[in-house]
């Protein structure tokens, strides 16, 4: 499993979002407000988190996240 840090998480998420520029993607980005956000993209994020950090998020978990930072905190909480 990859060590969890916010830069690594940002990089991994960036690979899965086609439309956003690196400089515009930060810990404060509300990824669910991005135009390409969809129920399918939610599954992509859940798969990414499971594969790299060994944490199985639910759809409900994601509903409670707005920013990348929220996601980071959630993964940290669930992996401890």
């Amino acid at each position: 499993m990859a060590d969890l840090n916010i830069d690594d998480l940002l990089l991994k998420l960036l690979e899965e979002f086609d439309d956003i520029e690196t400089e515009n993607f930060t810990a404060e980005t509300s990824f669910k407000d991005l135009e390409e956000w969809s129920s399918m993209q939610a599954l992509v994020v859940i798969a990414l988190v499971d594969e790299h950090y060994g944490v199985a998020l639910t759809g409900e978990d994601l509903l409670n996240c707005d920013t990348v930072n929220d996601l980071y905190n959630l993964i940290e909480k669930k992996s401890s």
């Binding site: 086609d18 390409e36 129920s39 399918m40 993209q41 599954l43 992509v44 798969a47 499971d50 594969e51």
Partner: protein
């Protein structure tokens, strides 16, 4: 219970049949071109075979069976048990297995019935059928598994329409003292029955004008209650957590070396889900063949269809793990050995 060892059964042959008409998800105009590309990249489903209005799942399974019997030089009159796995029957009553028993010209001194399961149905069917083939009363059994999953889905439902393709299949098994054992692990969780459901048309909610009325559900999702509804999030969570656990439990229970298994053939749900399962089990991509790019999710036929469309790589004595998971919720895995198993060329109708 639920860990099972089955002895003295050999798989003589496997065949599959699809409609010749292919639909491309690049042409799915209900969503934008960009969304279509994203959909194909994420689900891995580029094309789907779609049966004509007057073709049923039983037609596809019948043609697969005819091809298989011909390739094996076997006669339908030798078959003692026919099991037909489908959730898209010809009629509500009677069961489709009876129509197939007659159409295949099987003897009347035989057993024929349906099993109502979808994605897990092939493995369940193989288990039930092999349990009935005892070498005494019953020596040969035919497992048919097929669905016309393009029905009932609504074109205006992006959460179902671009995923499903139609296919049928046939597998012939036989009592054989020298066959290597088959291993099974089967699970069920009916508390998840709403994750994949057609709500109306049965007795709980009989067909009416209201059940055929198309309603707006959410952005780009419109359907009637007599059409298929799929909660992708619930199914994804279920499959990616339960399936790897089941497979590990199965091979641990029977002390099967993971490396001794030549291929892992999964129900073809979608690439995102299947790849996560593959990675969680630490399997190399070469050991996990797919058929979903060209055929989509073909429900109960997905495992035999994947075997048939990858026949060039499979060898006559391979040890294969098969695993089906989905509607029910229901999930089932098995380790089987090919025993000079004949894999037929894909039939197209």
């Amino acid at each position: 219970m639920s860990f099972i060892l089955k002895e003295h059964i050999s798989i003589n042959g496997i065949a599959a049949c699809v409609p010749s008409y292919s639909e491309s998800n690049l042409d799915y105009e209900w969503i934008s071109e960009k969304e279509r590309k994203k959909l194909i990249k994420t689900t891995g489903i580029a094309h789907r075979r779609i049966a004509s209005t007057d073709t049923t799942a039983s037609d596809m399974s019948f043609h697969a069976a005819s091809k298989l019997l011909s390739d094996l030089d076997a006669k339908a009159s030798e078959i003692d048990v026919l099991i037909n796995v489908t959730q898209t029957p010809d009629y509500l009553i009677p069961g489709t297995a009876l129509l197939l028993q007659d159409r295949l010209k099987m003897k009347k001194d035989s057993i024929a019935f349906d099993i109502n399961l979808g994605c897990s149905g092939y493995v369940y069917g193989l288990y039930v059928l092999s349990s009935l083939i005892d070498g005494k009363s019953n020596k040969k059994g035919l497992l048919l598994a097929g669905d016309k999953s393009s029905h009932p889905v609504n074109y205006k439902d992006k959460s179902t329409y671009p995923l499903f393709g139609d296919a049928g299949s046939a597998t012939l098994i036989e009592y054989n003292e020298n066959a290597e054992p088959m291993f099974f692990k089967l699970n069920s969780d009916g508390s998840g029955h709403e994750a994949i459901i057609v709500r109306s048309g049965g007795l709980k909610s009989p067909a009416s004008a209201d059940t055929t009325t198309i309603k707006f559900i959410s952005e780009r999702i419109e359907r009637a209650s007599n059409e298929l509804e799929l909660n992708g999030m619930d199914v994804f969570s279920f499959a990616t957590t339960k399936v790897p656990v089941q497979i590990k439990a199965l091979i641990d229970q029977f002390e099967i070396e993971k490396d001794s298994i030549d291929y892992f053939i999964f129900h073809q749900a979608n690439k995102l889900m299947n790849e996560l399962i593959r990675k969680k089990l630490k399997l190399s991509p070469e050991k996990v063949p797919y058929s979903l790019e060209k055929f989509g999710n073909t429900s109960s036929a997905s495992i035999p269809l994947t075997i048939v469309t990858n026949k060039a790589n499979l060898k006559p004595k391979d040890k294969v793990l098969i695993s089906g998971f989905g509607v029910g919720l229901s999930w089932a895995s098995s380790v089987v050995n090919f025993n000079n198993t004949k894999i037929s060329e894909l039939v197209e109708i």
